[in-house]
Amino acid sequence: MQLAGRGVVCVRGGREVFSGLDFEATSGEAVAVVGRNGSGKTSLLRLIAGLLIPAGGTIALDGGDAELTLPEQCHYLGHRDALKPALSVAENLSFWADFLGGERLDAAESLATVGLDHAADLPAAFLSAGQRRRLSLARLLTVRRPVWLLDEPTNALDVAGQDMVGGLMREHLARGGLIIAATHAPLGIDSRQLRIGGAV
């Protein structure tokens, strides 16, 4: 499985963010997208996720499920955590598991992995920023997707949480997945660097 972008151009609000960007990632490989603020790290992830339309170039996944589009094979972990405060932790997770569909794992187990099993029945409104991040990560574990698009995955997490994310990413790569992560901090795993928008 290989994800490749050729000559990708991103235009936002009339401004060209980057152009002629080539990148690739193969199974079991993590790509760390680095660059200064505003260089288009988040935009690149959203282009891959199909949430932005590229102004030029192509992005394609080879060797994935031929029936599915690229966004349908991606997990996107953005700045916003897609949680409803009125629902309980378990309800939030099981909703996404039901809605996203595909191969799924036990929700209770992934809650335990991210350290939220004690809070399963509590409203998500009671969670701290770091705990909300953990709950979003549980979504990535419960529903299987080969491509993970992570935007600052360790944001709001403490040291133990950052280690946990590192562990989860290694596990995903070992299973043959691939990861594109936009990050300022070191990712904590072996990764190829993709620098966009010139020097940091």
Binding site: G115, A119, A160, G161
Partner: protein, 263 residues
């Protein structure tokens, strides 16, 4: 015993646990006496037996206003004296007040049915009560809309006090609007012209309903205090166990990744 003693929720719970059965007992006895007396009261020469709806209707109408008064005092308690139980009292009173107001509307419209020929007439009194009912519902919606009770409390307190000032103005406007359109209201029940055979059961019923409100209100306050305790326990659970599981979750992920690496 002063208000200061009641400020402590734990002491409030302990005290009311002892008071509540007596209050409930007194309510039941007075209600039974009142209903018995109402049944014995003679029929009205004009309205016949339907006049007996009055014994239910008037206490409900009285309480619909009294409860707003209680909430207004509690709101002052929230805004001015910062009494810790004031917003609990205000919040617990709203649904009960709405229920009494609804019963006043219902009995009023049943009472009016034989006279007007319809269940509803835009009579000045009933219309004012209907607006009061809407304000109760709005207040309850406000309490529901905000998750954090202490934040909702101030907004609700302001609205309650504004309502207390506005209610007489609304009542006056509605009276004026009504006389503009129809000269005489069908229902005229001046309290002073009532015969003694009506007045005594009515007074007993009014006291019985006021006691009923006190019983329900204290019970609802206890529920609200317990509900808030559950809430803060849940919040503690969300944060506390997270800290202790922080390390274990981290190591679990570490183990998992080691296994994956080995595989």
């Amino acid at each position: 015993m002063t208000l200061i003693d009641l400020a402590n929720p734990t002491r409030f719970l302990a005290l009311t646990a002892r008071v509540l059965p007596w209050l409930a007992g007194a309510t039941v006895i007075l209600l039974a006496v009142g209903l018995y007396q109402s049944a014995l009261a003679p029929d009205d020469y004009q309205q016949g037996a339907t006049v007996k709806i009055m014994f239910i209707h008037v206490p409900n109408a009285w309480l619909s206003m009294f409860v707003w008064g209680v909430m207004s005092i509690a709101s002052l308690g929230t805004l001015v004296w910062r009494h810790p139980l004031a917003d609990v009292a205000a919040k617990a009173a709203a649904p009960i007040g709405a229920a009494f107001t609804f019963l006043a509307l219902l009995t009023g419209s049943l009472w009016g049915r034989p006279m007007w020929g319809t269940y509803w007439e835009w009579d000045a009194r009933l219309t004012s009560v209907l607006i009061l009912f809407l304000m109760y519902l709005g207040l309850m919606a406000l309490w529901r809309a905000v998750d954090d009770p202490s934040r909702a409390a101030r907004a609700a307190a302001v609205l309650t006090l504004v309502g207390a000032i506005n209610l007489p103005i609304i009542k006056f406007s509605v009276d004026w609007w009504n006389t503009l359109h129809q000269p005489a209201s069908v229902m005229r029940m001046g309290g002073s012209t009532l015969d003694k055979s009506f007045l005594i059961p009515l007074l007993v019923m009014a006291i019985a309903f006021t006691l009923l409100f006190a019983t329900l209100h204290i019970a609802a306050m206890r529920n609200e205090i317990l509900r808030r305790r559950v809430r803060s326990l849940q919040m503690m659970q969300a944060s506390r166990v997270a800290f202790s599981s922080e390390s274990s979750a981290g190591s679990r992920a570490e183990n998992a990744s080691n296994e994956a690496g080995a595989a």
